[in-house]
């Protein structure tokens, strides 16, 4: 029986170690962002779009990867954020980008909490179908309320004012990109803290065995609703970011297609890991963009084959495969 691993004095360094790891993770992300900024100065709009998608996929990871909720309707939360931010800007003149982000996060959180009340009624397949029904209803509602949303023509007339009154959203998309990267870093750190918090552990427990969680006296339903609200805020930020950077919000931001794409990106990167969400999104969108630029007529076949290859050769996603290789290399060395 060893006491070494678990005496209180050892806990502080342990906790510090995780802070150090957070710092390293943030530094890596920031370095990648800076490198992309200088390597691809003319692709910043695409990169900003990738960051917005990353927020959506991170949000999906919270409910699917960490809490075990199967959903093909996650764009509901993204679209809620995008439309809320777009509507306050286009109809109420609230054009400050930070305020728009806040509105998007709030709307996303509300949409998350409300939609979870329906989605959490099912399990497995029925949960997937409920989530599809929810996103389809939201899509129809947005199409119907064309006075507010612009319907299928899209919501235009969004002109965000300069960030802090100083940095205009320029043609090159520099302001939008830098803002989106800072936003992503902040969200990433907050989520790292949340997934390790008691609440995050509770969610992981629910994913693996909700009955056991109840036997511990912890609420399953309420916990998941809360997680959905948090995920909603993250996805809502992504939506608002997209509205600010694009200046138009379309019905596609509230679609089954976007939801399914987000799920594909998450599984591609690896579920239950925040890095997995980021890697999956970056690789998928970049791959899609490149392949479709090289051969716009037949890229779908190539993307399809990529997905099949991932299931065959990296069933735990790209990060899972990387981890396995890393472990094998370390094993070989020692």
């Amino acid at each position: 029986m060893s006491e070494t691993t678990l005496n209180p004095s050892a806990s502080t360094p342990l906790w510090r170690r995780s802070v150090t790891r957070d710092l390293v993770a943030v530094l890596i992300l920031a370095a990648v962002a800076v490198a992309l900024f200088f390597l691809f100065p003319s692709n910043l709009a695409l990169l900003t779009r990738i960051v917005a998608m990353m927020l959506l996929v991170l949000s999906l990871d919270l409910v699917t990867g960490y809490s075990g909720v199967a959903t093909l309707g996650h764009a509901t939360l993204f679209g809620a954020g995008a439309y809320a931010a777009g509507i306050v800007a286009a109809k109420f003149g609230i054009t400050d980008p930070l305020l728009m982000l806040a509105v998007g996060a709030l709307a996303g959180a509300a949409a998350g909490a409300i939609s979870s009340l329906v989605i959490l009624r099912g399990h497995g397949l029925s949960q997937l179908v409920l989530s599809i029904a929810v996103v389809s209803l939201a899509h129809e509602a947005a199409n119907k309320l064309s006075g507010w949303t612009g319907g299928s023509d899209g919501l235009s007339g969004i002109s965000p004012s300069a960030l802090f009154g100083m940095f205009r959203f320029d043609l090159f998309g520099r302001t939008a990109f830098i803002m989106s990267v800072v936003l992503l870093l902040v969200v990433f750190v907050v989520l790292r803290i949340i997934v390790r918090s008691p609440f995050g552990m509770l969610c992981r427990g629910i994913k693996q065995d909700p009955v056991r969680i109840r036997a511990m006296g912890a609420p399953v339903y309420f916990t998941l609703v809360k997680m959905y609200a948090i995920a909603g805020a993250v996805a809502g930020l992504g939506g608002a970011l997209s509205a600010i950077a694009t200046k138009v919000v379309g019905l596609d931001s509230l679609s089954f297609t976007l939801s399914a794409e987000a799920l594909v990106m998450l599984v591609l990167g690896g579920t239950g890991k925040l890095f997995g969400a980021l890697v999956g999104t970056l690789v998928f969108v970049w791959f899609e963009d490149r392949v479709s630029a090289i051969n716009p007529f037949h890229w779908l076949t190539i993307v399809g084959c990529l997905l099949v290859a991932v299931v065959l050769f990296a069933p735990k996603g790209l990060t899972g495969a990387a981890e396995a290789i890393w472990k094998r290399m370390r094993g070989a060395r020692s």
């Binding site: 029986m1 060893s2 006491e3 691993t5 678990l6 005496n7 209180p8 806990s11 502080t12 342990l14 906790w15 995780s18 803290i193 949340i194 390790r196 918090s197 008691p198 609440f199 552990m201 509770l202 992981r204 427990g205 693996q208 065995d209 009955v211 056991r212 109840r214 036997a215 511990m216 006296g217 912890a218 609420p219 916990t223 809360k226 948090i230």
Partner: protein, 253 residues
């Protein structure tokens, strides 16, 4: 007033009475064994009193309060904790995290978003002492999927202890454990706080005799015997109930 009191509990599945007018009470510090042939309704009884099933009629009182209508989680919060016959653990999480979750839940901190149990000295200390007590200190950071089944059963007990219940219902704590390791489980149960009332469902009669001060026998949903371990083997109805179902069982004399 008893610490835990079940009165006239009834439950039917279809037309079949699976719990038939069961009354039972536990006092502080009790060690009671609930035995009975397969299909006697033992697990149903646990599910009824913990609130996972709704009874047709009857009441459940815990520490003087009527909890018949309370949800399972409310009952846990009031001190009624159960373990599972088949291990229910989180396969990707470590024993340390399991116990942490139980302690945080007891402390009402399990919903906290921006804290980490590793920064709470008192929690870390308690995790250490519980795991050490049960001999799980060495594997505190190994995912549960990778530890031995006997250790998983011990972790079930650790979780129950971390919740600091008033009444503990153990559903076959040694089920599936190789007989050489049962002694570890027994030793762990001996570490339970003396004031805790324990109701244990168990098949292994030797284990029951060593553990229980009192034995309750359930057959076809009804209590047919309630007395000391010494008396149970001599009771005619118990013999009939067991011999009727599995005549060649070695554990019942």
């Amino acid at each position: 007033m008893s610490l835990f009191e079940v009165k006239n509990l009834r439950k039917n599945f279809g037309g079949l009475a699976v719990t038939d007018d069961v009354s039972l009470s536990l006092q502080k510090g009790d060690r009671i064994a609930l035995i009975g042939p397969n299909g006697a309704g033992k697990t149903t009884f646990v599910n009824l009193v913990t609130g996972h099933l709704k009874p047709l009629s009857g009441t459940v009182h815990l520490d003087g309060q009527n909890v018949t209508k309370a949800s399972p989680t409310q009952r846990v919060k009031q001190g009624l904790v159960r373990s599972f016959q088949v291990t229910r653990l989180f396969s990707e999480m470590t024993p340390e995290e399991h116990v942490a979750l139980a302690i945080l839940q007891r402390l009402g901190r399990s919903g906290h978003l921006f804290t980490n149990f590793k920064t709470m000295p008192e929690v870390v200390e308690e995790i250490g002492s519980i795991l050490a007590l049960l001999g799980l200190g060495g594997i505190a950071r190994t995912p549960v999927a990778e530890i031995a089944y006997g250790q998983q059963r011990l972790l079930e007990i650790a979780l129950a202890m971390a919740l600091r219940p008033k009444v503990l219902l153990l559903d076959e704590p040694a089920a599936g454990v190789p007989s050489s390791d049962t002694v570890l489980i027994e030793r762990a149960l001996a570490q339970l706080p003396p004031g805790l009332a324990v109701l244990m469902i168990e098949h292994d009669m030797d284990f029951v005799f060593r553990f229980a001060q009192r034995v309750v026998v359930l057959a076809a949903g009804a209590i047919i015997f309630d007395g000391t371990p010494a008396e149970v083997g001599k009771d005619a109805r118990v013999r009939e109930a067991y011999l009727g179902s599995y005549a060649d069982d070695r554990s019942v004399a």
